[in-house]
Protein backbone atom coordinates (compact mmCIF):
# COMPACT_ATOMS: atom_id res chain seq x y z
CA UNK A 1 0.00 0.00 0.00
CA UNK A 2 1.32 3.41 -0.94
CA UNK A 3 0.63 5.99 1.74
CA UNK A 4 1.52 9.61 1.14
CA UNK A 5 1.60 12.28 3.85
CA UNK A 6 1.24 15.66 2.18
CA UNK A 7 4.34 17.65 3.09
CA UNK A 8 3.63 21.33 2.51
CA UNK A 9 5.75 22.73 5.28
CA UNK A 10 3.10 22.75 7.99
CA UNK A 11 3.79 21.38 11.41
CA UNK A 12 4.77 18.17 13.00
CA UNK A 13 4.34 15.46 10.38
CA UNK A 14 7.01 13.20 11.87
CA UNK A 15 4.54 11.92 14.47
CA UNK A 16 2.06 10.81 11.80
CA UNK A 17 4.82 9.06 9.87
CA UNK A 18 5.84 7.23 13.05
CA UNK A 19 2.23 6.29 13.86
CA UNK A 20 1.85 4.77 10.38
CA UNK A 21 5.12 2.91 10.92
CA UNK A 22 3.86 1.50 14.21
CA UNK A 23 0.99 0.01 12.19
CA UNK A 24 3.51 -1.75 9.98
CA UNK A 25 3.38 0.56 6.96
CA UNK A 26 5.76 3.04 5.45
CA UNK A 27 4.55 6.50 4.50
CA UNK A 28 6.17 8.84 2.01
CA UNK A 29 6.30 12.57 2.67
CA UNK A 30 5.62 14.43 -0.54
CA UNK A 31 4.31 17.64 -2.09
CA UNK A 32 4.51 16.25 -5.63
CA UNK A 33 1.00 16.22 -7.22
CA UNK A 34 1.81 13.14 -9.35
CA UNK A 35 2.99 11.17 -6.34
CA UNK A 36 -0.01 12.25 -4.26
CA UNK A 37 -2.47 11.32 -7.03
CA UNK A 38 -0.84 7.88 -7.36
CA UNK A 39 -1.15 7.05 -3.64
CA UNK A 40 -3.60 4.49 -2.23
CA UNK A 41 -4.13 6.61 0.88
CA UNK A 42 -3.43 10.29 1.43
CA UNK A 43 -2.97 11.91 4.83
CA UNK A 44 -3.31 15.69 4.95
CA UNK A 45 -1.81 16.89 8.23
CA UNK A 46 -1.57 20.39 9.59
CA UNK A 47 -0.38 22.15 12.66
CA UNK A 48 -0.04 25.89 12.56
CA UNK A 49 -1.98 28.83 11.26
CA UNK A 50 -4.67 28.51 8.56
CA UNK A 51 -3.88 31.40 6.22
CA UNK A 52 -0.14 30.66 6.02
CA UNK A 53 -0.85 26.93 5.57
CA UNK A 54 -3.26 27.73 2.71
CA UNK A 55 -0.65 30.00 1.16
CA UNK A 56 1.83 27.12 1.16
CA UNK A 57 -0.76 24.83 -0.46
CA UNK A 58 -1.38 27.37 -3.20
CA UNK A 59 2.33 27.80 -3.91
CA UNK A 60 2.59 24.12 -4.75
CA UNK A 61 -0.77 23.93 -6.54
CA UNK A 62 -1.99 21.41 -3.98
CA UNK A 63 -5.13 23.47 -3.33
CA UNK A 64 -6.30 22.32 -6.79
CA UNK A 65 -5.03 18.74 -6.42
CA UNK A 66 -6.52 17.75 -3.06
CA UNK A 67 -10.26 18.29 -3.83
CA UNK A 68 -9.87 16.19 -7.02
CA UNK A 69 -8.45 13.13 -5.27
CA UNK A 70 -10.43 9.89 -5.63
CA UNK A 71 -8.69 7.71 -3.03
CA UNK A 72 -9.36 7.97 0.73
CA UNK A 73 -7.98 11.23 2.14
CA UNK A 74 -7.65 11.94 5.86
CA UNK A 75 -7.26 15.53 7.01
CA UNK A 76 -6.00 15.89 10.58
CA UNK A 77 -6.54 18.96 12.79
CA UNK A 78 -5.72 22.02 10.66
CA UNK A 79 -5.76 19.68 7.64
CA UNK A 80 -9.44 18.97 8.35
CA UNK A 81 -10.17 22.67 8.87
CA UNK A 82 -8.59 23.59 5.54
CA UNK A 83 -10.89 21.08 3.83
CA UNK A 84 -13.90 23.16 4.99
CA UNK A 85 -15.41 26.17 3.15
CA UNK A 86 -13.52 28.76 5.14
CA UNK A 87 -11.80 29.48 8.43
CA UNK A 88 -12.17 32.49 10.66
CA UNK A 89 -8.43 32.11 11.34
CA UNK A 90 -6.69 34.65 9.12
CA UNK A 91 -9.94 34.98 7.11
CA UNK A 92 -8.94 31.96 5.05
CA UNK A 93 -10.80 30.48 2.08
CA UNK A 94 -10.78 26.68 2.33
CA UNK A 95 -10.80 23.77 -0.11
CA UNK A 96 -14.62 23.59 0.05
CA UNK A 97 -14.80 19.82 0.46
CA UNK A 98 -16.80 19.90 3.69
CA UNK A 99 -19.70 22.31 3.55
CA UNK A 100 -19.06 24.19 6.80
CA UNK A 101 -17.26 27.32 8.02
CA UNK A 102 -14.65 27.04 10.78
CA UNK A 103 -14.99 29.39 13.77
CA UNK A 104 -12.97 30.32 16.83
CA UNK A 105 -14.15 29.07 20.23
CA UNK A 106 -15.86 31.77 22.26
CA UNK A 107 -14.22 32.93 25.47
CA UNK A 108 -16.67 31.01 27.67
CA UNK A 109 -14.08 28.19 27.49
CA UNK A 110 -10.30 28.24 27.64
CA UNK A 111 -8.73 28.64 24.23
CA UNK A 112 -6.90 26.64 22.93
CA UNK A 113 -8.66 23.49 24.05
CA UNK A 114 -5.75 21.26 25.04
CA UNK A 115 -6.15 17.71 26.25
CA UNK A 116 -8.30 14.61 26.16
CA UNK A 117 -11.98 14.95 25.39
CA UNK A 118 -14.56 12.42 24.14
CA UNK A 119 -16.10 11.63 20.77
CA UNK A 120 -19.77 10.67 20.41
CA UNK A 121 -22.47 10.19 17.74
CA UNK A 122 -19.98 8.11 15.76
CA UNK A 123 -21.05 7.28 12.23
CA UNK A 124 -18.22 6.47 9.86
CA UNK A 125 -16.15 3.41 8.94
CA UNK A 126 -13.35 5.42 10.54
CA UNK A 127 -14.80 4.43 13.92
CA UNK A 128 -15.18 0.67 13.51
CA UNK A 129 -14.42 -0.88 16.91
CA UNK A 130 -14.43 2.50 18.66
CA UNK A 131 -16.95 2.89 21.46
CA UNK A 132 -19.10 5.96 22.03
CA UNK A 133 -17.44 8.52 24.34
CA UNK A 134 -13.95 7.23 23.64
CA UNK A 135 -11.16 9.61 24.67
CA UNK A 136 -9.10 11.36 22.02
CA UNK A 137 -6.44 14.08 22.14
CA UNK A 138 -7.22 17.58 20.89
CA UNK A 139 -5.29 20.81 20.70
CA UNK A 140 -7.04 23.60 18.82
CA UNK A 141 -8.57 27.08 18.99
CA UNK A 142 -10.91 26.79 15.97
CA UNK A 143 -13.71 24.29 15.38
CA UNK A 144 -16.13 23.09 12.73
CA UNK A 145 -19.79 23.51 13.78
CA UNK A 146 -22.20 20.61 13.39
CA UNK A 147 -23.16 20.12 9.74
CA UNK A 148 -24.40 17.43 7.37
CA UNK A 149 -20.85 16.02 7.02
CA UNK A 150 -20.49 15.48 10.78
CA UNK A 151 -19.51 11.91 11.73
CA UNK A 152 -18.38 12.53 15.34
CA UNK A 153 -19.20 15.19 17.89
CA UNK A 154 -17.50 16.59 20.99
CA UNK A 155 -18.67 18.90 23.74
CA UNK A 156 -16.57 21.96 24.61
CA UNK A 157 -18.68 24.96 25.53
CA UNK A 158 -20.89 23.78 22.70
CA UNK A 159 -21.35 20.60 20.69
CA UNK A 160 -19.22 20.68 17.54
CA UNK A 161 -17.96 18.35 14.82
CA UNK A 162 -14.77 16.47 15.76
CA UNK A 163 -14.88 14.37 12.60
CA UNK A 164 -16.26 15.01 9.13
CA UNK A 165 -16.76 12.79 6.13
CA UNK A 166 -17.90 13.33 2.58
CA UNK A 167 -17.44 10.53 0.05
CA UNK A 168 -13.72 9.61 0.08
CA UNK A 169 -12.76 12.60 2.25
CA UNK A 170 -12.34 12.16 6.01
CA UNK A 171 -11.32 14.72 8.59
CA UNK A 172 -10.57 14.52 12.31
CA UNK A 173 -10.13 17.53 14.54
CA UNK A 174 -8.37 15.29 17.05
CA UNK A 175 -4.92 13.79 16.57
CA UNK A 176 -5.26 10.02 16.03
CA UNK A 177 -1.46 9.74 16.08
CA UNK A 178 -1.45 11.09 19.64
CA UNK A 179 -4.64 9.47 20.93
CA UNK A 180 -3.17 6.29 22.38
CA UNK A 181 -4.78 2.95 21.45
CA UNK A 182 -8.06 4.44 20.22
CA UNK A 183 -6.19 6.78 17.91
CA UNK A 184 -4.12 3.93 16.56
CA UNK A 185 -7.32 1.98 15.83
CA UNK A 186 -8.84 4.96 13.99
CA UNK A 187 -5.71 5.37 11.88
CA UNK A 188 -5.72 1.62 11.21
CA UNK A 189 -9.37 1.83 10.15
CA UNK A 190 -8.51 4.59 7.72
CA UNK A 191 -5.66 2.60 6.20
CA UNK A 192 -8.05 -0.35 5.76
CA UNK A 193 -10.82 1.57 4.00
Amino acid sequence: MKIVIINYGAGNIQSIKFAVQRLGHEAILSNDPAEIKAADKVIFPGVGEASSAMKMLKETGLDEVIPQLKQPVLGICLGMQLMCNSSEEGNTKGLRIFDVDVHRFENNVKVPQIGWNQIADLKSDLFTGIKENEFIYLVHSYYAPLCKNTVATTQYGLKYATALQKDNFYGTQFHPEKSSKAGTQILKNFLEI
Binding site: G11, N12, Q14, S15, F18, A19, Q21, R22, V47, G48, E49, L78, N107, K110, V111, P112, Q113, I114, G115, W116, N117, Q118, F135, Y137, L138, V139, H140, S141, Q155, Y156, H175, E177, K178, S179, S180, K181, G183, T184
Partner: protein, 251 residues
Protein backbone atom coordinates in the same frame (compact mmCIF):
# COMPACT_ATOMS: atom_id res chain seq x y z
CA UNK B 1 -16.01 16.57 28.44
CA UNK B 2 -12.47 17.92 28.47
CA UNK B 3 -10.57 16.05 31.19
CA UNK B 4 -7.91 17.21 33.61
CA UNK B 5 -4.44 16.10 32.59
CA UNK B 6 -1.89 14.18 34.66
CA UNK B 7 1.60 14.98 33.43
CA UNK B 8 4.74 13.15 34.58
CA UNK B 9 7.91 15.18 34.06
CA UNK B 10 11.25 13.59 33.19
CA UNK B 11 14.51 15.44 33.76
CA UNK B 12 16.94 14.69 30.96
CA UNK B 13 20.70 15.12 30.92
CA UNK B 14 22.80 13.93 27.99
CA UNK B 15 19.87 11.93 26.66
CA UNK B 16 19.27 10.04 29.92
CA UNK B 17 16.83 10.55 32.78
CA UNK B 18 18.35 11.93 35.94
CA UNK B 19 17.21 12.27 39.57
CA UNK B 20 16.65 8.54 39.44
CA UNK B 21 13.57 6.48 39.00
CA UNK B 22 12.41 3.43 40.83
CA UNK B 23 10.56 1.23 38.41
CA UNK B 24 11.05 -2.45 39.01
CA UNK B 25 9.72 -3.32 35.57
CA UNK B 26 12.28 -1.17 33.78
CA UNK B 27 15.25 -2.82 32.15
CA UNK B 28 17.13 0.44 32.09
CA UNK B 29 15.98 3.08 34.55
CA UNK B 30 17.95 5.76 32.75
CA UNK B 31 16.30 5.34 29.36
CA UNK B 32 13.69 8.07 28.89
CA UNK B 33 11.99 6.25 26.03
CA UNK B 34 11.34 3.16 28.06
CA UNK B 35 10.00 5.18 30.96
CA UNK B 36 7.87 7.30 28.60
CA UNK B 37 6.29 4.16 27.13
CA UNK B 38 5.40 2.84 30.57
CA UNK B 39 3.79 6.15 31.50
CA UNK B 40 1.89 6.27 28.22
CA UNK B 41 0.60 2.73 28.74
CA UNK B 42 -0.44 3.32 32.34
CA UNK B 43 -2.60 6.39 31.88
CA UNK B 44 -0.39 9.48 31.74
CA UNK B 45 -2.15 12.08 29.59
CA UNK B 46 0.94 13.87 28.43
CA UNK B 47 4.67 13.92 29.17
CA UNK B 48 7.18 16.70 29.73
CA UNK B 49 10.88 16.24 29.06
CA UNK B 50 13.00 18.86 30.71
CA UNK B 51 16.52 18.97 29.29
CA UNK B 52 19.16 20.15 31.72
CA UNK B 53 22.16 19.55 29.44
CA UNK B 54 24.16 22.65 28.81
CA UNK B 55 26.37 22.24 25.76
CA UNK B 56 25.51 22.37 22.06
CA UNK B 57 26.70 18.83 21.52
CA UNK B 58 24.44 17.50 24.23
CA UNK B 59 21.53 19.39 22.67
CA UNK B 60 21.93 17.28 19.57
CA UNK B 61 21.61 14.22 21.76
CA UNK B 62 18.30 15.70 22.85
CA UNK B 63 17.05 15.90 19.26
CA UNK B 64 17.84 12.20 18.79
CA UNK B 65 15.94 11.45 21.97
CA UNK B 66 12.92 13.50 20.86
CA UNK B 67 12.80 11.53 17.65
CA UNK B 68 13.00 8.21 19.50
CA UNK B 69 10.20 9.25 21.83
CA UNK B 70 8.02 10.36 18.91
CA UNK B 71 8.66 7.04 17.20
CA UNK B 72 7.51 4.96 20.13
CA UNK B 73 5.07 6.95 22.23
CA UNK B 74 1.45 7.54 21.21
CA UNK B 75 0.57 10.37 23.58
CA UNK B 76 1.64 14.02 23.28
CA UNK B 77 4.83 15.33 24.81
CA UNK B 78 6.45 18.68 25.53
CA UNK B 79 10.15 19.43 25.49
CA UNK B 80 11.68 22.22 27.55
CA UNK B 81 15.03 23.46 28.79
CA UNK B 82 17.57 25.70 27.10
CA UNK B 83 15.32 26.77 24.23
CA UNK B 84 16.27 30.28 23.16
CA UNK B 85 15.35 30.78 19.51
CA UNK B 86 12.73 30.09 16.84
CA UNK B 87 15.31 27.84 15.24
CA UNK B 88 15.63 25.71 18.42
CA UNK B 89 11.83 25.33 18.45
CA UNK B 90 11.72 24.46 14.77
CA UNK B 91 14.23 21.65 15.27
CA UNK B 92 12.40 20.17 18.25
CA UNK B 93 8.99 20.27 16.55
CA UNK B 94 10.43 18.72 13.42
CA UNK B 95 12.01 15.96 15.46
CA UNK B 96 8.50 15.12 16.71
CA UNK B 97 7.84 17.17 19.86
CA UNK B 98 4.19 18.25 20.12
CA UNK B 99 4.89 21.31 22.22
CA UNK B 100 7.89 23.20 23.51
CA UNK B 101 8.23 24.95 26.81
CA UNK B 102 10.22 28.16 27.04
CA UNK B 103 11.17 29.78 30.32
CA UNK B 104 14.11 32.12 31.03
CA UNK B 105 14.57 33.01 27.35
CA UNK B 106 10.96 34.24 27.19
CA UNK B 107 11.71 36.67 30.02
CA UNK B 108 14.97 37.82 28.43
CA UNK B 109 13.38 38.10 24.98
CA UNK B 110 9.56 38.25 25.20
CA UNK B 111 9.32 38.74 21.43
CA UNK B 112 10.29 35.06 21.13
CA UNK B 113 6.76 34.17 22.32
CA UNK B 114 5.20 36.27 19.54
CA UNK B 115 7.56 34.97 16.88
CA UNK B 116 7.18 31.33 17.89
CA UNK B 117 3.40 31.38 18.27
CA UNK B 118 2.82 33.13 14.96
CA UNK B 119 5.13 30.72 13.17
CA UNK B 120 4.09 27.43 14.78
CA UNK B 121 0.69 28.28 16.30
CA UNK B 122 -0.11 29.12 19.94
CA UNK B 123 -1.11 25.56 20.65
CA UNK B 124 2.48 24.30 20.69
CA UNK B 125 4.03 27.13 22.70
CA UNK B 126 4.00 26.63 26.46
CA UNK B 127 5.59 29.29 28.62
CA UNK B 128 7.00 27.97 31.89
CA UNK B 129 7.04 30.41 34.79
CA UNK B 130 8.93 29.78 38.02
CA UNK B 131 7.91 32.11 40.81
CA UNK B 132 8.36 32.65 44.52
CA UNK B 133 6.37 34.62 47.04
CA UNK B 134 8.32 37.47 48.68
CA UNK B 135 6.52 39.61 51.28
CA UNK B 136 3.15 38.58 49.91
CA UNK B 137 3.91 39.22 46.23
CA UNK B 138 4.84 36.63 43.64
CA UNK B 139 8.04 37.28 41.69
CA UNK B 140 9.28 35.49 38.60
CA UNK B 141 12.61 33.68 39.00
CA UNK B 142 15.00 32.55 36.29
CA UNK B 143 17.49 29.77 35.68
CA UNK B 144 15.55 27.04 37.42
CA UNK B 145 14.43 29.43 40.15
CA UNK B 146 17.94 30.54 41.11
CA UNK B 147 17.87 34.13 39.82
CA UNK B 148 15.18 36.50 41.15
CA UNK B 149 13.66 39.26 39.03
CA UNK B 150 11.37 42.15 39.92
CA UNK B 151 8.72 40.88 37.49
CA UNK B 152 5.31 40.24 39.02
CA UNK B 153 3.97 36.75 38.32
CA UNK B 154 0.44 37.83 37.37
CA UNK B 155 1.54 40.72 35.16
CA UNK B 156 4.00 38.46 33.38
CA UNK B 157 1.37 35.74 32.95
CA UNK B 158 -1.00 38.25 31.30
CA UNK B 159 1.75 39.46 29.01
CA UNK B 160 2.65 35.91 28.06
CA UNK B 161 -0.96 35.20 27.08
CA UNK B 162 -1.21 38.46 25.13
CA UNK B 163 1.95 37.57 23.23
CA UNK B 164 0.42 34.31 22.05
CA UNK B 165 1.41 31.55 24.47
CA UNK B 166 -1.00 28.62 24.28
CA UNK B 167 -0.51 27.45 27.82
CA UNK B 168 1.30 28.29 31.07
CA UNK B 169 3.28 25.86 33.17
CA UNK B 170 3.46 27.48 36.60
CA UNK B 171 5.95 26.20 39.17
CA UNK B 172 5.86 27.60 42.67
CA UNK B 173 9.42 27.59 44.01
CA UNK B 174 7.92 27.76 47.50
CA UNK B 175 6.08 24.49 46.99
CA UNK B 176 8.46 22.60 44.71
CA UNK B 177 9.98 19.61 46.48
CA UNK B 178 7.93 20.10 49.66
CA UNK B 179 5.32 17.44 48.88
CA UNK B 180 2.90 19.72 50.72
CA UNK B 181 0.53 20.41 47.85
CA UNK B 182 0.37 22.84 44.93
CA UNK B 183 0.20 26.65 45.16
CA UNK B 184 -3.56 26.63 44.73
CA UNK B 185 -4.27 30.26 45.67
CA UNK B 186 -1.91 31.60 43.01
CA UNK B 187 -3.10 28.97 40.55
CA UNK B 188 -6.72 29.95 41.05
CA UNK B 189 -5.92 33.60 40.37
CA UNK B 190 -4.00 32.65 37.22
CA UNK B 191 -6.75 30.39 36.00
CA UNK B 192 -9.48 32.99 36.49
CA UNK B 193 -7.40 35.83 35.10
CA UNK B 194 -6.31 34.08 31.92
CA UNK B 195 -8.16 32.25 29.19
CA UNK B 196 -5.44 29.72 28.34
CA UNK B 197 -4.86 26.42 30.16
CA UNK B 198 -2.69 26.38 33.30
CA UNK B 199 -0.48 23.45 34.30
CA UNK B 200 0.25 23.30 38.03
CA UNK B 201 3.72 22.23 39.07
CA UNK B 202 5.55 21.90 42.36
CA UNK B 203 4.37 20.35 45.59
CA UNK B 204 2.65 17.09 44.68
CA UNK B 205 2.92 14.67 47.59
CA UNK B 206 -0.31 12.69 47.67
CA UNK B 207 -3.48 12.07 45.68
CA UNK B 208 -5.50 14.68 47.52
CA UNK B 209 -3.02 17.35 46.39
CA UNK B 210 -4.00 16.62 42.80
CA UNK B 211 -7.70 16.78 43.61
CA UNK B 212 -7.13 20.07 45.43
CA UNK B 213 -5.26 21.70 42.57
CA UNK B 214 -8.03 20.79 40.14
CA UNK B 215 -10.87 21.89 42.44
CA UNK B 216 -9.39 24.75 44.50
CA UNK B 217 -6.58 25.78 42.13
CA UNK B 218 -8.80 25.38 39.04
CA UNK B 219 -5.76 23.99 37.21
CA UNK B 220 -6.21 22.32 33.86
CA UNK B 221 -3.34 19.90 34.33
CA UNK B 222 -0.97 18.84 37.09
CA UNK B 223 2.68 18.01 36.65
CA UNK B 224 4.82 15.96 39.00
CA UNK B 225 8.03 13.98 38.92
CA UNK B 226 9.24 12.07 41.94
CA UNK B 227 5.85 10.85 43.21
CA UNK B 228 5.45 9.05 39.90
CA UNK B 229 9.07 8.00 39.36
CA UNK B 230 9.27 6.44 42.82
CA UNK B 231 5.82 4.89 42.53
CA UNK B 232 4.52 6.73 45.56
CA UNK B 233 1.48 7.45 43.43
CA UNK B 234 0.20 5.12 40.74
CA UNK B 235 -1.44 7.09 37.92
CA UNK B 236 -4.33 4.63 37.57
CA UNK B 237 -5.10 4.80 41.29
CA UNK B 238 -4.81 8.57 41.18
CA UNK B 239 -7.29 8.84 38.35
CA UNK B 240 -9.75 6.53 40.09
CA UNK B 241 -9.55 8.71 43.18
CA UNK B 242 -10.02 11.91 41.16
CA UNK B 243 -13.01 10.41 39.39
CA UNK B 244 -14.51 9.43 42.75
CA UNK B 245 -14.23 13.08 43.76
CA UNK B 246 -16.15 14.14 40.66
CA UNK B 247 -13.18 15.36 38.63
CA UNK B 248 -13.26 14.59 34.90
CA UNK B 249 -10.32 12.34 34.00
CA UNK B 250 -9.50 9.95 31.19
CA UNK B 251 -9.66 6.39 32.49
Amino acid sequence: MLTKRIVPCLDIKNGRTVKGVNFVDLRDAGDPVELAKIYADTGADELVFLDISATEEKRRTLLDLVMRVAAEVDIPFTVGGGISSVDDIDKLLHAGADKVSINSSAVKNPQLINDASSKFGSQCITVAIDAKQIDGDWFVHLVGGKVPTDINLFEWAQEVEARGAGEILFTSMDHDGTKDGFANEALEILSEMLNIPIIASGGAGNMQHFADTFIKGKSDAALAASVFHFKEIDIQDLKKELKKQGIAVRI
